[in-house]
């Protein structure tokens, strides 16, 4: 098996990297792929709680890299029965305890066993970022439609380029279609023009992401969540399927809402 190692990164914190990693990983697994997600945010681990696996951690990424445990021992199987595994970050160590070469070797080893190796990158552009990016071959960039997040994303595009990761694909997260309509939020076209990158997907702001995080169940498992549907489409695109970008605006009208409520609007799911 020759898997793909993809880093999910953003520069700015709090834009939804961890949520994106958990959901894309889950969605790829739901598509029948073998997936491992790695939390590389040493000292501030969170992917485990988003996936609801925090109680199952015995060993972590640093233990594996230091040879304190076998790789298998640090891989936690997801609860939903798919071929999805989590390698959690160490919580009581810091970013400098990772050797970038060792992380690269680990990913190369995982590529032999998995279709996808997804790395949740720490915020910022310091050592933790460099470690994760250095081990990846592709990148998914997450931003929100805000000036600060977009500025940081642009900086990250430059840094990725410098580390030989070309053409990162962009997820715009937490889009408020009503604000876009009013002219009070930048839309997809504005952001694509500013950053000059390819779009991987658009994710609407969705309260269900919050309840999903509360429960520790990624939102792709929530059949009624618009953000979950968006992540299913994103995973399909990552997996090489041609899926049209869905205009989020269409779904905010009264009729779309009604259809959603009475369950007629299955269009989003039929794509993925």
């Amino acid at each position: 098996m020759t898997g793909r190692t993809i880093v999910i990164t953003s520069g700015k914190g709090g834009v939804g990297k961890t949520t994106a990693t958990a959901n894309i990983g889950s969605a790829l697994a739901m598509r029948g792929k073998k997936v491992v997600v790695i939390d590389t945010d040493i000292g501030l681990r969170n992917l485990d709680v988003i996936m609801g696996l925090e109680n199952r951690i015995v060993y972590d990424l640093v233990n594996v890299l230091e040879g304190k445990c076998k790789l298998r021992q640090a891989m936690i199987k997801d609860k939903h029965g798919y071929e999805l595994y989590l390698i959690p970050a160490a919580q009581t160590r810091d970013k400098d305890c990772i050797d970038p070469d060792q992380l690269r070797d680990l990913c190369a080893k995982l590529e032999d066993q998995f279709d996808y190796v997804l790395m949740d990158c720490p915020a910022g552009i310091e050592q933790g970022f460099k470690n994760a990016v250095g081990a990846a071959r592709e990148a998914i960039l997450v931003t929100t439609p805000e000036v600060s997040a977009i500025r940081d994303a642009d900086r990250v595009i430059g840094l990725l380029e410098a580390s030989e990761i070309h053409r990162p694909r962009l997820i715009i997260n937490r889009i408020h279609p009503d604000l876009v309509k009013q002219g009070n939020m930048m839309d997809k076209d504005d952001i694509v023009e500013l950053l000059a990158v390819d779009i991987l997907g658009l994710v609407p702001a969705d309260e269900r992401t919050i309840t999903a995080a509360n429960r520790g169940v990624p939102v792709v498992h929530d059949k009624r969540a618009p953000s979950g549907a968006a992540f299913l489409r994103i995973a399909a695109r990552v997996d090489g399927e041609e899926v049209q970008l869905v205009d989020l605006d269409e779904r905010s009208g009264v009729f779309a809402k009604l259809k959603e409520i009475i369950g007629l609007d299955r269009r989003a799911y039929s794509h993925a």
Partner: protein
């Protein structure tokens, strides 16, 4: 009546003709991103702009006000685009 209809459809801005905030955001960002990419502070940009204008005005009669000067990303390239209005084509080569 038509206005009301437009308003209902959300085609009229509710902020009394002021620029939409997303356009302000986009414009601010396009300037900030260029400066970040070039690592060039805005005073230096202004200096360059002024000097280029001075050079061009030695050869052509140009408008003092109409000067567009921006650095854009064009696919893989970063390009400097400047538009300077030539005011009077009958005086294309002024006496020096």
């Amino acid at each position: 009546m038509l206005d009301l209809f437009r308003w209902l459809l959300g085609q009229v801005d509710s902020n009394g003709g002021r620029e939409h905030s997303k356009d302000t955001a986009r414009k601010r960002l396009s300037v900030v991103l260029i400066q970040d990419r070039l690592d060039l502070p805005s005073e230096r940009m202004d200096d360059m702009k002024r000097e280029i204008w001075e050079v061009v005005s030695r050869y052509l009669v140009v408008d003092d006000d109409f000067l567009e000067f921006e650095i854009r990303r064009l696919d893989e390239l970063v390009v400097l685009v400047s538009n300077i209005q030539v005011k009077d084509t009958s005086e294309l080569a002024p006496a020096r």
